[in-house]
Amino acid sequence: MKENKSYLRQTLEKNTFSVSAYLDILNTLLSSCKTKVAGEVSELKKASSGHVYFSLKDKKDGSVLNCVIWSSVYKFCGVELKEGVEIKVFGFADIYKQNGRITFKCSSIELMGEGELKKQYEELKRKLEKEGLFDESRKKEIPLLPCNIGIITSKEGAVINDFLNNLGQYGFKIKLVDSRVEGIEAVKDLLRAIKTLKGEKLDCLVIMRGGGSLESFLAFNNETLIKEVAKLSIPVIVAIGHDKDVPLLALSADKMVSTPTAAANLLNESWHRLEWEIKEKENAIFSFLSSFFESIKLLEYKVKEVLPKIIESRIDNLRMIIANAESVVNHNNPERNLALGYSIARKSGKVIKSIKGIEKEDIIDLEIMDGIINTKVNETRKYKSKH
C-alpha cells in the first residue's frame, strides 16, 4: 500500500497531465473513498428525470457540499427529501469535468433525528394503512407442515443460530440469503435477497434481525421493500423485534413475531401438532391391541378352564340320566319279571288285574317265562284285606 502511494506520488510529481487526465485521476481516487456525510438539506431540486439535486449544509460553519441522488436510487431509498431535514448520505465525491464542481453522488440516504424519523414513519404508516397493506384479510396463513423455508438475515450474529437451534428436526430445507439488516445499505441488500428467493420454490419466507432503536429499523420502514414483500405469493414471517414503534414491514407481514425463536416455533407448530396426533393414535392403537390381547387371554382362560368343567359336568349329568333310564327300563322289563316267577294272566287276550268278572270254569291263559299255560278256573278267592 505504501509502495502504491509512493508510486502514485512519484507519478504525480514527475508528470504533467492534461486537465481532463488529471480530473480522471482525481475521480478514480475519489470513487474509491466511499464515506458517510451528515448535514442539512438545502437548495433541493427534483429534475423531471427523477434525479434529485441538493446541497448538504454544515450547521456549524455553513460549509456546503453539492449532492446528487439518481432517480433509480432515490426510488427505493425510502426517504422523502425536504429542505431543512437532517440526513446522512452514503457515497463518494466526483468532479464534474465540464465545470470542475465537486458533487457527492449518493448511493443511499438515511434520515437523522428522532422527530423527523417519527414524522415520516407515521406518514408512511397512514399511507400504507389506507392502501390496505395491513389488512388482516390479505394475510396468508402459514401452510401446514412447511418444509422449504427461505431466510433473509445476516449470517453474522446470534439471530440465525437462535433460529436454527429452535427449529425442530422435521426435515426443513433452509435457503439462507445473507443480507445486511441494519444501516444505510440494508434496503438494497434486502431487495436483492427477495429477488434471489423469488425464483425458489418456498413454502414460507422468514425475514429476521435482532432488536434495536427506531433508527436501526429504518430499512424495515422502507416503502419499496414493504411493497416488494407484500407482492410475494408465499406467506412471510417477519421476526425483527421492535422498540416503541412496530416496523411497518412487520405490520404488513403475514405473521409478525418478536424473536427468531418465536419464528422457529411458528414453523414447528403444525409439525408439533402432527407429532402429537401421531403419538395419540399410536397410544390408541397400543391400548386397543392390549385390550384385544387381554380379551384373548380371557377367552383362552374360559376355553381352557371354564368350558371343560361345564362339559365334564354335562357328561356326568348325561351318565346319570342314562343310568336312571337303564334302571327304569330294567325295572319295567316284562322278561325280567317273568324270569323272577311272575306270570301274566289273560282272559280272551285281556290282562286280568282283578277277580271281578272271573267265574268258575272260565278258560284263561297264564304267560310265564318260557311259554303259555292254557287252564280252567277252579275257584276264585278274594282277599279280605286288599283293595
Binding site: 348325561l318 333310564a325 327304569v328 322289563n333 316284562p334 301274566i344
Partner: protein, 66 residues
C-alpha cells in the same frame, strides 16, 4: 336303528320311560319292544358319550401343551 345324537337319544329314552310310567294295561309284546329300543338307545348313547369324552380329553391334552 338310525344313529342319532346324544340329545335326541336322551329325548327318546325319556319318552319310553314316560310310556312305562303311564302304562295301565301292560302290553308285554309292546313293553318288550320298548325295552329293546331303550336298551339299544342306552348302548348307543353310552358309546357316543364315551367317544365324545375321549375327543374332549384329546382336546384338553392339546390345550395343555400350548
Amino acid at each position: 336303528m338310525k344313529q342319532e345324537n346324544i340329545s335326541q337319544n336322551i329325548k327318546k329314552l325319556n319318552q319310553i320311560i314316560d310310556w312305562f310310567e303311564n302304562q295301565e294295561d301292560l302290553d308285554v309284546e309292546l313293553g318288550l319292544k320298548k325295552v329293546k329300543e331303550a336298551m339299544e338307545l342306552i348302548k348307543q348313547t353310552k358309546e357316543r358319550l364315551k367317544k365324545t369324552e375321549n375327543e374332549f380329553e384329546e382336546i384338553k391334552k392339546d390345550f395343555s401343551k400350548k
